[in-house]
Amino acid sequence: MSGSEVAARQCVVGAMEGRVDEIADRWVQLQARWAAPSTGIRESELREEADALVAAVATGLESPLPVEQIVASHVDLNRTVTELSLRRARSGESPTATSLAVLALKEALLEAVQESTQDSGKLFSAALLINQLMDAAGALSFDTYVEGREEIIHRQSRQLLELSTPVVRLWGKVLGVPLIGTLDTARTQVVMDNPLQAIQDQESTVAIIDITGVPTVDTAVAQHLMQTVQAVRLMGADCVISGIRPPIAQTIAQLGIDLSTIMTRATLADALSEAVELTAGSLPPSDAPVAR
């Protein structure tokens, strides 16, 4: 560490000494001024955050780490910045608000240094140091913010995968598989597996795949559907595809996909009455005896 850097760090640490509360207050004020009032983060939380971050900056500067590594390697400072950014990412703050929140501390620190010294040379090197430190913190905060958002996106897509492929029992031995959304590789496997497993578990004889909620049926989707139908038949059950809306019917016909070997119906209601007929001989005996 060069002598001038040591001097600059001492200058900043000296300016912060005993004024941690004041700087934290000023930071909270600045954030409120720069960014729109935050929706998800309460004033008291902001205050706690400010105390922790200002204290971490002070201990970071006192540590023997070179300035360009403080943010990356100083445990307290790194954790404080990361937590601050993640909290904002999760509460839906904008990326601008998040990086401004960290960069606002730069202004608060500069003001503190300015009040503590009149020497312009010292002031300049202290300002350089603060800039270096807070820019690194800003970059870290932005990285963390993006990671936090990506984590949310991944979690949501996993949830979608689970939610979107229910198999429901509609009638005696009739299963319903309402498909919603697009069928791409990851979901297709689940869509294939679920009804087959349910046919085995519930000894069903008809499976109705309803595609009312599928916006686009192209050749890839049609192929998945045909394979599912084939697999259902191999298990000894019948398969009906319902919910073929007029535009989808026209598109399938023009694409040249031949679904004539598959039982298709316009609505789920049609498919259900067809399925009930198909299973008529195998309806479970009714509990109450039928009076004649």
């Binding site: 697009t182 916006p215 686009t216 050749t219 049609a222 192929q223 535009p247 026209q250 694409l255 040249g256």
Partner: protein, 162 residues
């Protein structure tokens, strides 16, 4: 509707082309949209962007579904066979009729013989083989430019029918 004009035999020097050349007089109004096709999620994005473009051109529900399906086929071809590419959406108009033009380009191995690739049932992978020919039936104007080893470009236009 199937047009088989301007067919050049596929050899190593001439790019093979299927379909009529575009009338140069078509005016294209801004803005054009470009979507990269590098991941499977991009195929989802394609369907959304193309659906929005057909809505903007005032297409009915059936035509919207047609164009979105064709875009889905062509984008999937570029993603699976071409190793990724781009989709460009333009809004041309001809004689007061609005249209949506899709240009899908990839830099993959190309199609050696586009004419036979348009025939139903033709496939080099595990697909049904209806994608390219089906997409041509769903659109009004359809051109395939391809050269072995130099990628494929498909230009497809659908006009608003009243």
């Amino acid at each position: 509707m199937a047009r088989r004009a301007n067919t050049t035999p596929a050899d190593a020097t001439t790019p093979a082309t299927v379909g009529a050349s575009l009338t140069p007089g078509d005016a294209v109004s801004e803005p054009t949209t470009v979507v990269a096709l590098t991941t499977e999620e991009d195929l989802l994005a394609v369907r959304h962007v193309v659906r929005a473009a057909t809505l903007a051109a005032g297409f009915g529900l059936v035509d919207q579904t047609r164009v979105v399906t064709a875009a889905s086929e062509l984008a999937r071809n570029a993603y699976i066979h071409g190793g990724g590419g781009t989709l460009t959406i333009e809004h041309p108009h001809r004689d007061g009729t609005k249209g949506v033009r899709l240009t899908i380009s990839d830099e993959g191995p190309g199609i050696a013989d586009p004419e036979s690739a348009l025939v139903d049932g033709y496939t080099t992978g595990a697909g049904l083989g209806h994608g390219l020919g089906g997409a041509r039936r769903l659109m009004d104007d359809f051109e395939v430019h391809s050269q072995s080893g130099a990628g494929t470009t498909v230009i497809a236009t659908r006009w608003a029918h009243r």
